[in-house]
Amino acid sequence: MVKHRDSTHLVHQYLRHNKKFPHVWCPGCGNGIVLGALIRAIHQHQYERDDIVLVSGIGCSSRMPVYVDFNTIHTLHGRALTFATGIKLANPKLKVIVVTGDGDSMAIGGNHFIHAARRNIDITTIILNNNIYGMTGGQSSPTTNYGDKSTTAPYTHIEHAFKISELAVTAGASFVARGTVYHADKLQKLIEAALTKDGFSVVEAVTHCHVQYGKLNKLGSNVDMMKWQKDNSITVQKAAKMKEEDVEDKITMGVLMDKPLPNFTKEMAKLKDRAKE
């Protein structure tokens, strides 16, 4: 059991100290908090470092594999899941984790995402949802909320946002959970649970982009945005008792879906055996 106060010491052991530190993310960015939670979760399960593969696409969040000492691959925009599918099928013993952003996985990689969920392949996907394309200059992403501003929507956004977790549930993922960076401890627990699951497991980490999104929408500093997460998140159990219109604006936190479904990796192995007979 990792104590909170060993967290920094532990995370430092997993970092590639020959890379440039401090890391590239803006001061106060939530991506670092998710990275910390991910490392603690991996450590909790005592996985060998060589058994972990961290795959990412392009974006702020996708810089994550650069800094950690696992098998890492930094791939094309939106294609992290396709690379991960290849890796998992080539060597099913590996623990494949995909780290991706909301723009990366929902816009250009949206199709790959829903089909990976439909196949239910044994991959853990962590989606960092900051409601905007941060790295490229604050353009609207598929999760930018209706009525919010971005650099490509200066007169407010007229489209409606994707709900990532609900989409994953509908698409057929076997484990779906949502956490926030304010609740870093809870997020770690959710990632821990997702790592043990057999099928496609999704953890949506709601984070903040105070530099692009917060500035344009006057949401205040990183601390203000984290306090907003604290005030506006409710547990799944509580949300079930509330009226639908009250839940609309809230972040429902916790496990949204946990059901063992036929797993693509195992089915593939069975298929191979059948074909050999």
């Binding site: 967290s7 920094t8 984290m226």
Partner: protein, 88 residues
């Protein structure tokens, strides 16, 4: 009619001894200034407010004795730049 005496919790000698012998664990706070980006998360979410900042935003430890070792700063530091250790 006798006056109702207020019920008072009696502290036994054993309990007093236990209280005296129980020393509060103290912690030291280390901030790695090379990695710290002065975002202010540690200061904002410290439940006992033992962290502060100077005029350039650098984190300073106001009262290390007040630290309760919950390490809420550690799990939320995006730059892995703060560490809490038990004082020896």
């Amino acid at each position: 009619m006798p006056a109702k005496s207020a019920s008072k919790k009696v502290t036994t000698k054993k309990e007093i001894k236990k209280k005296e012998t129980k020393i509060k664990t103290k912690y030291d706070i280390y901030v790695y200034n090379d990695w710290c980006k002065k975002c202010g998360i540690c200061e904002a979410f410290c439940p006992v407010k033992c962290l502060g900042h100077d005029e350039i935003g650098q984190v300073i430890v106001l009262d290390a004795d007040a630290c309760i070792g919950c390490a809420q700063c550690e799990i939320r530091c995006p730059d892995f730049a703060i560490e809490i250790k038990v004082r020896e």
